[in-house]
Homo-oligomer: 751 residues x 2
């Protein structure tokens, strides 16, 4: 039915998605950088004169204006666009259909909401919304039509099916993260490891291409624009800019570095799982509170207010905490001092937010040719104001052992952790990646500072590894892994964003330890969020816990979870079909037929609700009882429509058919339309294998047959979900207590 | 049946495999480096006096001694160990069982063969044999027993099943490539992209751990040993050593670099597919020639002789080609001159093979503190003698625009390409990765040199990208991709081995172009090799060509490829079973039963040959006709054995049962032993989906049923193989010519 082709159009589409995603990634970065700069330049003179009051008012005022728009967009303009969108995308790619998430409205709402929220100074990043944006772009472009814009172009119609759509969305999501991070391979792997459920090597290649194009587009555009001003250098990639958190100094590493790495891994894992725990708690509370408000407008308004409250706290912390910290000399990495190239980029002389309320410094060239400077910085300001991209750069800088002290790091870690945890899930489109990288970086630097305070600043080659900058990288990886439990993609991302393949082994160790520790406490963040949002996600392996113990699903069979099913005859009357459609909400029906009179009805194939709608609305296929074979068969294009037809019309039609008795004598021969390649399992098929088949083949429903191939039940996504199986088992358990010893078989190794 | 557990033992086993693989990777590197050094130190004085004759004789003599052992090991000691072993591992993981590939004999044979072949100076590398070695180690360790060594320890018995074995082998193969390349993530992705057919995210995590441990072990050991001599510095990783082809100078890259990158991609693709074409031709010829020799000893001997002939040619080229090239000054990368750190490692003063027959130079420190040197090098010698790791380092060096001239590069490219193509597949255990990286590097540098000759040596920042070192990296990726058609893993490997995330976009572009160009001409190398070796590999998607056009398998159904099957009754007589087993060679049988008298026999499940053997050898399960239910049921451990029992004994048994008429009246009730979770498809199930189910679920046989659930046929791996489908279609085509238009449906887009 689906034609093979040279697939040039698919590759073209992948490229197109890449270009568009790249442009939006470029835009979001530009908007954020521009607004951020404008905001702080405005308050420069106040802060330099220690006028915290005015600074606070100005920053908060601007921030509030932004956050009201940002939050308003999410709450009123595109309420279906959830705060981050990532769990929804993961759910969709797992096979759950969620309404409205790929709307063009949702896209613009979440895009601008995200840009404004980050610019306002919230402790969040633009990554998860960019994944969502990439998915929406991919969905819209590949279908070449939009309901909202009433566009329906006659191109690329062959992609208008759910399998192809899913593939493009996978690629778009990967391109989103690739382009925003400048980590093309890392983004791709992130999607393959955590987001996509179904993928094959061919899709991986196409996604690779899409990510390449997206990163490339973003880089070409970024090469010549800064704050939307054309800078020249079009298409000229500075080595400095290509890698966002470039670590310039390689270190010789001793095997002893493993000890603090493992400690960091444990800390990252504990802190990460604490983050997940707190965030889920906060979101549950938030949901409960908001759901208790009946009036829709008031509910949305209170969401906006909550987000504003978060902003007020954030800005207050950002502006006032530096007040308690004095200035310290701004340490420039020692190695850079004598590299003349550094001078050409030296905008150090301009005011930098780092300096905050410190006396302005100046740079000069010493007689021996090195650059001297007496700049000073406020450590807390550097950490809190410059959160996000620039802050991470400061944390990762090597050779700056004493740039940040213990008090500043610790204060900022606690505040940043708590506030970012509160922010995630509020009514603004926010991402978590930058906060994770940043929190982890502070944590790592803290451990590094402790090491330095024990062993002193080492300059010989054996002690060079005791560098807080190195541990900041490891800390980021560890905390990131503690929250998301990613491994492979995270390692690749860390290498891509720091360009430091040298410490890859340490990063891997930290990631492994953090993941193990985190998994001991709870589930990864995105799984928990999906559970919270009631998205019936199917894990790679079913984990069913019954009475605190893992159940071996090999002990159960398909019949234990199946629902009884309603079957349709191969020749069914219009009346029956219409009644069936209007009384049930099932999406697929098994079609049965009687091979010979007197024999049992056997299962033949399945037919979907949508197909039945189409058939019922084409009355030329109706048969009278005397005509045995229908001469009119709908063609393939007539049958394949992508979307449910107008509901009201269908309702009218069904109503007509199910009331008028004449339709009891009109039949439809379903034979040409049923899916004969529907997978079935036998009733006593092992439940474990049923689950594997269901998930591996990406089914939506699975018909259960008995030994005579009679359809005896049906299993849908909801029936096979771990939590549903748990419920079923409890019922079974209550029913037949005697079979309990058989019910649970544990591994003897664990006891 | 298989218990769930906390899986600590699995993780432990993964770690253990990692440690052992790491040790062997360390060993192979040490052996190669040591032998290589010894060999060239021996001839140092002759070559410095231009005594090519003696040099040739000595090098060849030593080389021949090594290659005779190396080749002899493969030919006589472990003939089942194929030259590289990689296609066999890929085939095994796809579900094909190949005998003897995981023997301990094969392991030692191929390990030492590889070490000696590389040391002898063949144009090959140790990677593919290390993948094989990793797989063997994983297989042996995870099973905790060895037939050859007659060891059968009672630990980890739960891993003695084919699914777990496959997982460990996947991890072991990944660890092999990771540790030998110091690219833990790249190795892992290489295996996931190209080697493993079945894997899930859990396995990916475990493999990640295994690779981490393997790389770590190899690095710790390498940190303190050089040529087997303890150097101190135990556990101290020099930044220099961690990344094998470390590129130190980042470049600002202009968008114009894309033009030569695309050209390099095309060249790499063309050259890569040419390599595949030639190599397959050569191997076919080789097979034909050797198979024409009847006597086994003579056949193996002639293989050894052929390998020796290759060595003679290789050594002659290596030693004599530099004779035609004069000496040129040895350019040290300009940036390094004023970095004092470089001096401390400066063993430049010692003789280096680069210098070959050139007059010895010396280094001194100039008054302004920079190091001056008047070393010279023989370009061809540097390229040919230092092939492999060290050569790649030279090629990738940046800031050395004129180190290698056009004539030397071109000559070496042609020679290296041809000889490495001849070498691959000869009777020594050889890998192809280093030759691919190296050939590609020469190609890239050639393009770089052409650019330099057009635009001159550029030193300003806009022209800095015209650096042959940069293009050498891109060339390597491009040629590698042209041969293997890898994408993601290759990009990650390139970043990991060069530590240059900056040029990742260019590498990705080259890889994409080369893959596309290469795929236009032929299949990737490993697929072609598997076809050559008749390994029935199942591709991710079936590509069936009929009459030069791709066939849409949706048009066909399962019944078109199935074989008729022999069914067994649920209660079957011992006599019948024994006869069945001795007259057929099938591995699985459908078990049927008659639900009620008069009804048709329906399909119930499958039973394997092995299970039947076990049942037949336990005569306590035999039933007499009057006893309906057997009280004795074999327990799970009794039934699960991993290996076929002694063949002679089975033959005797089968013979007894099938001749003695008393066994006609003894029955076995197969019910407790059959696999009721056997997947079936209906006869008119689409062939495309049948293929997908077969491959995705990793089946070995698939029973085809009709609408009444009667077993009507069986599909095995061989039946569903693309080439077999092609053959079947040709028969169908010849049979019913009238259905031709239905037979082939083409995509209208392509025409």
């Amino acid at each position: 039915e689906k034609p093979n082709s040279s697939d040039w159009d698919r590759w073209f589409m992948m490229g197109l998605i890449g270009v568009v995603v790249g442009i939006f990634a470029f835009l979001i970065h530009q908007i954020i950088d521009y607004l951020f700069k404008v905001k702080w330049e405005l308050v420069e003179k106040y802060i330099q004169h220690n006028d915290f009051q005015t600074t606070w008012m100005l920053v908060l005022g601007i921030g509030l204006a932004m956050i009201l728009v940002s939050s308003g967009l999410v709450a009123f303009f595109s309420p279906s666009g959830s705060p981050s969108g990532l769990p929804e995308v993961i759910g969709y790619l797992n096979g759950v259909s969620i309404r409205h998430i790929f709307n063009i409205r949702t896209f613009f709402g979440s895009f601008f909401s995200c840009a404004l929220a980050v610019s306002a100074g919230m402790f969040c990043g633009p990554e998860a919304p960019m994944v969502h944006a990439g998915a929406v772009i991919a969905c819209g472009l590949s279908q070449f039509k939009s309901e909202t814009l009433r566009i329906n172009l006659p191109f690329f119609t062959r992609f208008r099916n759910s399998a192809d759509k899913r593939q493009f969305i996978t690629a778009g999501a990967a391109a989103g993260i690739s382009s925003v991070f400048r980590a093309p391979v890392g983004g791709l792997l992130f999607v393959l490891e955590d987001v996509a459920t179904f993928w094959n090597i061919k899709l991986a290649w196409q996604t690779f291409f899409c990510c390449l194009v997206a990163s490339f587009t973003a880089e070409v555009l970024s090469s010549s624009f800064c704050d939307f001003i054309y800078q020249g250098y079009f298409g000229f990639f500075k080595a400095e800019q290509g890698v966002i958190f470039w670590v310039k100094d390689m270190l010789d590493i001793s095997i002893l570095a493993i000890i603090p790495t493992v400690i960091l891994g444990v800390l990252g894992g504990v802190l990460g799982s604490l983050f997940v725990f707190l965030n889920i708690r906060i979101n549950k509370l938030r949901m409960k509170m908001f759901n208790s408000i009946q009036n829709n407008f008031l509910r949305q308004l209170s969401k906006v207010l909550e987000t504003s409250l978060i902003l007020v706290v954030t800005i207050t912390v950002t502006v006032y905490v530096p007040y308690f910290f004095s200035c310290s000399p701004n340490q420039i990495p020692s190695q850079l001092n004598n590299v003349s190239e550094h001078n050409s980029h030296g905008e150090q002389t301009a005011w930098d937010i780092n300096e905050y309320n410190c006396p302005p410094g100046s740079s000069w060239v010493a007689p021996n040719g090195t650059i001297m400077s007496n700049h000073s910085l406020n450590q807390a300001a550097a950490l809190l104001v410059k959160n996000g991209n620039q802050g991470v750069k400061l944390l990762y800088q090597r050779g700056t052992h004493e740039k940040f002290g213990f008090p500043a790091l610790f204060t900022c870690l606690v505040l940043y952790f708590l506030i970012s945890c509160w922010t995630a899930g509020s009514a603004a489109s926010t991402g978590l990646v930058i906060p994770m990288v940043y929190t982890g970086g502070i944590l790592g630097r803290l451990v590094g500072v402790i090491l330095v305070s024990i062993f002193g600043v080492q300059h010989d080659e054996y002690g060079a590894w005791i560098d807080p900058g190195l541990f900041a990288v490891i800390g980021s990886a560890s905390y990131f892994s503690g929250v998301t439990r990613l491994t492979i993609s995270l390692t690749v991302i860390m290498v891509e964003i720091t360009n430091d393949a040298q410490s890859i082994l340490l990063v891997m160790i930290a990631v492994m330890v953090a993941k193990t520790v985190g998994s001991y406490f709870n589930q990864p963040l995105f799984s928990s969020l999906m559970q919270l949002k009631c998205i019936p996600y199917l894990e790679a392996e079913p984990i069913v816990v019954h009475g605190k113990r893992k159940v071996n699903l090999e002990m159960f069979s398909a019949k234990d979870v199946m629902k009884p099913c309603i079957t349709i005859n191969l020749q069914e009357s219009v009346f029956v079909l219409a009644e069936l459609l209007s009384t049930t909400s099932h999406n697929g029906f098994p079609v049965v037929y009687r091979p010979a009179p007197g024999q049992d009805e056997v299962f033949l194939g399945t037919i979907t609700r949508l197909d039945l709608y189409i058939l019922l609305s084409n009355n030329k296929v109706f048969l009278t009882p005397d005509k045995d074979k229908c001469s009119v068969v709908l063609t393939y294009p007539e049958v394949t429509v992508e979307k449910q037809p107008d509901e009201a019309r269908i309702d009218r039609l069904l109503n007509k058919y199910s009331t008028d008795p004449q339709y009891q004598h009109l039949f439809i021969n379903l034979e040409p339309y049923i899916n004969k390649s529907a997978v079935t399992v036998q009733a006593n098929f092992s439940l474990q294998r049923t689950y594997v088949i269901f998930r591996t083949l990406g089914l939506r429903h699975l018909v259960v047959t008995d030994l005579q191939n009679r359809a005896v039940g049906i299993i849908t996504r909801k029936d096979i979900n771990s939590s549903h199986i748990e419920k079923k088992l409890t019922q079974l358990d209550a029913g037949k207590l005697d079979s309990e010893e058989e019910l649970l078989k544990y591994n003897k190794h664990t006891q």
